[in-house]
């Protein structure tokens, strides 16, 4: 059957479909806004690297993991786990990404499991040994937001590690990373409230994540009530991110309820705060992309993206190369506090070099810094 007879007729009245068009547009927008896609950039890049270029055949033998850390890079549209009312233009993502697992996986993932069981180098794959399942997991840490007090909140890092196939494996792998903030303590001032902790069994059901800890937490490692609360929340955010479900998290210590850090009863369960209250947990400013120490190609415009919960959505930034301020400006997030917005900063094409992007929330009152975040990256 030819379509030609169905072309819009010349006598077709302008505006004939105005109403139904409007209704349809609205219906689609409303309906689609209920869909909050998970972030999968990392999974896409990981799978693309596995598959190799179209012309290159299907074998992954000897293929290198070219961007071991930066594979998590340029995570542009992630809003770590925030349920927000429908806003089609800036839909925050409920839960950050986890790669679909692939190949044989260690059954007890841990940080040290980044080396495949056979002992082959982590930078090569498919050299005869079963491939380790490498992925970048979103992991939350307690860090200073950059004000003068200082106030502590959660930051998110993407950490490459080796994980098993099940949601429990993923959650455990992420939690193991979360309790070790040491790699970031010198550079970012992250606290180490879980120093001396060991993650035991992690059980994931559709309704609940149960995490067993080896001890209740050292009160001396988390001295204030707020840091203790955040320490628990960092595990909640990390575990729920790993399984991509915003379900409650329950903690046990050697199988039984206990008072975490001696003060937080673990008889109940813990959840992420509601979207409008994500500021209770999350640092006001995150830089998602470039990621820490990412290497970006020269000749290509650099865009900084991140999330912010700031007054009037207003952000200031500067770009430094060594001690020199190369560029500076202001930008706005997609929405102001208490909601969490997305922001982006177009830096244009930059000459080769190492840069630090510094984003902060100026005080409306006196211009002092309310919160800030810096990330270094290299162009070459």
């Amino acid at each position: 059957m030819s379509d030609r007879t169905d072309f819009l007729h010349p006598d077709f009245e302008p505006g004939e479909f105005d109403r139904v068009e409007r209704q349809l547009r609205q219906a689609l927008a409303t309906d689609a806004a209920r869909v909050r896609p998970h972030d999968r950039l990392d999974a896409i890049l990981g799978a693309a690297h596995d598959a190799g270029p179209a012309a290159g055949g299907s074998s992954t033998a000897g293929r290198r993991w070219l961007l071991p850390v930066a594979a998590a890079a340029a995570v542009a549209v992630i809003a770590g786990g925030i349920w927000v009312a429908n806003r089609p233009d800036h839909p925050p993502q409920p839960l950050p990404p986890v790669n679909t697992s692939r190949g044989t996986a260690p059954t007890t993932p841990s940080q040290s499991a980044t080396t495949p069981p056979s002992g082959t180098s982590t930078s090569t794959r498919g050299t005869g040994a079963p491939p380790a399942t490498q992925t970048s997991l979103p992991v939350y840490f307690v860090g200073p937001i950059g004000d003068s007090k200082p106030t502590y909140k959660l930051f998110r890092e993407f950490v490459r590690t080796s994980v098993g196939a099940t949601p429990s494996d993923r959650a455990k792998a992420a939690l193991v990373l979360a309790i070790n903030a040491q790699p970031y303590s010198n550079t970012d001032g992250y606290l180490q409230p879980w120093s001396g902790q060991t993650i035991g069994a992690v059980r994931v059901t559709p309704q609940l994540i149960t995490v067993d800890l080896a001890n209740a937490g050292n009160p001396d490692a988390a001295v204030t009530p707020e840091v203790r609360r955040l320490a628990v929340q960092e595990l909640v955010w990390t575990a729920t991110a790993a399984v991509q479900k915003s379900v409650p998290v329950r903690f046990t210590v050697n199988g039984s309820p206990a008072a975490l850090f001696g003060t937080i009863a673990s008889t109940g369960s813990f959840t992420r705060p509601a979207a409008a209250e994500s500021w209770r947990d999350l640092a006001p400013i995150w830089v998602d992309s470039p990621t820490r120490d990412q290497v970006l190609p020269a000749g290509k415009a650099v865009t900084v993206t991140g999330q912010a919960t700031v007054f009037e959505a207003s952000l200031a930034w500067d770009l430094r190369r060594g001690a020199t301020t190369v560029k500076q400006g202001h930008t706005t997030a997609s929405i102001g506090a208490p909601d969490r917005g997305q922001y982006s900063i177009e830096l244009g094409v930059l000459p080769s070099g190492t840069y630090t992007i510094h984003v902060w929330e100026p005080s409306a009152k006196d211009g002092s810094v309310q919160a800030e975040r810096s990330t270094s990256f290299t162009v070459r």
């Binding site: 689609a32 999968r40 270029p53 949601p167």
Partner: protein
């Protein structure tokens, strides 16, 4: 270390994909969902489309052609997803989670009420009864605001056909909505 095609290194493809992702991921997942009505399936389809685009990066001229390639892959993926409906089952088994509409959460009933009030449910139901082609054209046009040429490219049909499908689809929708109200 460049194992990629003539367009440059793997990082160039990664960076390009990251840009495309930032611009199109959410919209395309939602498009795929509107076509498939299966949220995990929709993400799978779009993820596969991004991976395919990454693999063909060296053959894509610019971001516009990459975006066009991506859309074609999504539409085709959604279509074969509809044909097989295997995605859902596979995922259900793997993840041990329930298929169904997104947001099987506490606010569902409130959400449903809002949808009902706005006539969204009736319209979406009417859309769902249209032939596949009309549904695809209308969804791309009125959800993604794609041009006729872009829709034609994504569906592999002529611009004239796009117009025709749009017209027929809108006429059916109008009739059904008028009957319903």
């Amino acid at each position: 270390m460049a194992e990629r095609g003539r367009d440059g290194s793997v990082s160039a493809a990664d960076a390009g994909i990251a840009d495309l992702y930032a611009a199109h991921w959410t919209g395309l997942v939602r498009l795929a969902w509107l076509l498939l009505r299966d949220d995990l399936g929709a993400e799978e389809v779009v993820q596969d489309a991004f991976i395919a685009t990454h693999r063909h990066w060296g053959t894509l001229r610019d971001e516009a052609s990459a975006a066009a390639y991506l859309r074609r892959a999504v539409v085709n993926g959604a279509r074969s997803g509809l044909r097989h409906r295997g995605v859902e089952q596979r995922y259900t088994q793997r993840e041990g989670r329930e298929p169904g509409v997104p947001g099987a959460r506490a606010e569902d009933s409130a959400e449903a009420r809002v949808l009902e009030r706005e006539g969204t449910t009736a319209m979406i139901a009417a859309l769902g009864r249209l032939p596949q082609r009309q549904r695809e054209v209308l969804t791309m046009r009125y959800y993604l605001d794609l041009s006729e040429a872009e829709i034609a490219d994504a569906l592999g049909i002529s611009a004239g056909s796009v117009k025709a499908h749009a017209h027929r689809g809108l006429a059916s929708l109008r009739d059904r909505m008028e009957t319903a109200s």
